[in-house]
Symmetry: C2
Subunit: 308 residues, 2 copies
């Protein structure tokens, strides 16, 4: 089975939704990515940075699940990255109430020796120069490099972003980010423009409206599972990315058909994350629950039509 | 092959989009429904009302396609229903610039004798009391009665709407209408509430975000085909309804698996309608184009996953 290296934030989130508030809880892109991937496949490591206020019990959430955290650096003179946000009533929009960059401002990623040959590299949303620095540390070119980014880097680090996009295989962003990156409103045209920037594959996440996978002229679509209630959307995108790359690593296949299954797997895991606050649902999630819900996705989307 | 009776407006539309303006063209729910259904199946009739200004060449668009128009009544002292609207830049919203009800205010639907035994009845968006009056004229209960409605009737004719909902099998509305009808934001909960109002089946159309089919605990989802450009969304929902009921009539089957195929067929035809103004694209559409695009829908949505 292949190894996955997940790079991103391990952080504190404080979340307010119409259903309640969390106080400071475990958050960060690398937390969701690694926990989701580890639900699917065996060898997952995290590269990240934390501060002196990060509790051991949170680190234990990783080690209890046999996620390799030798690449998580603790900065003794810094605090941990912290984000606070409030979701609107329909949960489709959120306002950031506070962001404290803290230790993340000094993040100098060091890939552990035993993961320098990882076949799958998932670069969570970070400064594109940091993402590039991770790629450069790999002993050999991974079989697949996936990258997430956001509008902020398009506004403040465009050239660095263009550089790292040339080195990756698949970009995973949301619809708003795809429109800003391509400067085109049509997602189909945006996908062509973005593929010309480097990544041969592109996933555009549309939140409750599902996700599109593009490769050349091929398009695949996975819906989000219709749920009675979405409780907390935080981490859904990173969970999707973790489930996606987890499935590819498990299948040891990076072809388009394998990617379709990986997109379904990512959507599957994300549908759990939104059922509770933070990583709570992901932590308790069982293999049986994942397989049962995969059947829900099959029922939701598969049909058998005659061409009449 | 079964017969379809389509009831709704045959009208003038005047459409302004970022791509141009149409002047007065053929529009109306029954125009789109019948033309779409007729692409799929053979026996389709329209019940509607027009005024003295309605050109013969527009009626000929129906008769050229062997659509039975003996149920279209011409009121010699009235003008034809007219709607003018302007779409916003992203084509997801539109403003109504003018509505002239005209002949529609005097619409007294009369079902032609040879269609009183139609197995499939599609009631386009009209006053619910008029929709009910059509049902009451049928010689025997159709195999399937489908109905479209809108917010306006929920605001102005709630009791009549509740009455007719008890008599139908499937309601076809958009997400905003489903939320207003059920008074619930969650579409999954809305679907349960609406099924308790009468229809055992419900389709919720989400425009560019696809359509959901509900029946008891079963849910099926069909995406809209991702297109480089949407040119004019007018009539997409009615085209969907026409393609949907056309497929059911062709298959002579109203089970859930047949409905899945019918939802795909409706989405397929709607993806053509939005490519040009009004009914233009639907008019020129060939069987071969429909089958090719059905393959696009299969590629877009079908996967073959192992439960690992």
């Amino acid at each position: 089975m292949s190894k996955i290296l997940a790079v991103g934030t391990v952080a504190f989130d404080e979340i307010i939704t119409p259903f309640g508030e969390t106080g400071k809880i475990l958050g960060g892109s690398a937390s969701y990515i690694s926990m989701a991937a580890r639900k699917i496949t065996d060898y997952v490591a995290v590269v990240s940075v934390i501060g002196n206020d990060f509790p051991d019990e949170y680190l234990q959430k990783f080690t209890d699940r046999q996620i390799d955290i030798s690449g998580i650096e603790k900065l003794e003179n810094e605090k941990t990255f912290y984000w606070k946000g409030r979701y609107h009533n329909d949960l489709n929009k959120r306002d950031t109430l506070a962001t404290e960059v803290n230790a993340l401002a000094h993040f100098n990623p060091v890939v552990p020796e035993n993961y320098k040959d990882a076949e799958f590299l998932m670069l969570g949303n970070l400064h594109p120069a940091i993402q590039k620095a991770v790629i450069d540390q790999m002993k050999k070119r991974p079989k697949l490099i996936a990258l997430d980014t956001m509008n902020f880097w398009m506004d403040t680090a465009w050239n660095d972003l263009m550089e790292v996009l040339k080195d990756i295989d698949i970009l995973i962003i949301n619809d708003e980010e795809a429109r800003q990156l391509s400067k085109d409103y049509s997602l189909v045209r945006a996908a062509k423009i973005i593929q010309n920037m480097g990544p041969k594959y592109l996933i555009i996440k549309k939140g409750e409206h599902g996700a599109l996978l593009f490769h050349g002229k091929d398009i695949f679509f996975a819906p989000a599972l219709p749920l009675e209630d979405v409780f907390d959307p935080t981490g859904a995108g990173d969970t999707f990315a973790g489930g996606f790359i987890g499935r590819l690593a498990k299948e040891e296949n990076t072809g388009f058909e394998a990617m379709k299954n990986a997109v379904i797997c990512g959507s599957n895991l994300a549908s759990f994350t939104v059922e509770k606050f933070g990583t709570e649902r992901l932590e308790s999630l069982t293999k049986e629950e994942i397989i049962n819900r995969l059947q829900d996705f099959i029922n939701l989307t598969q049909f058998d039509i005659e061409l009449i």
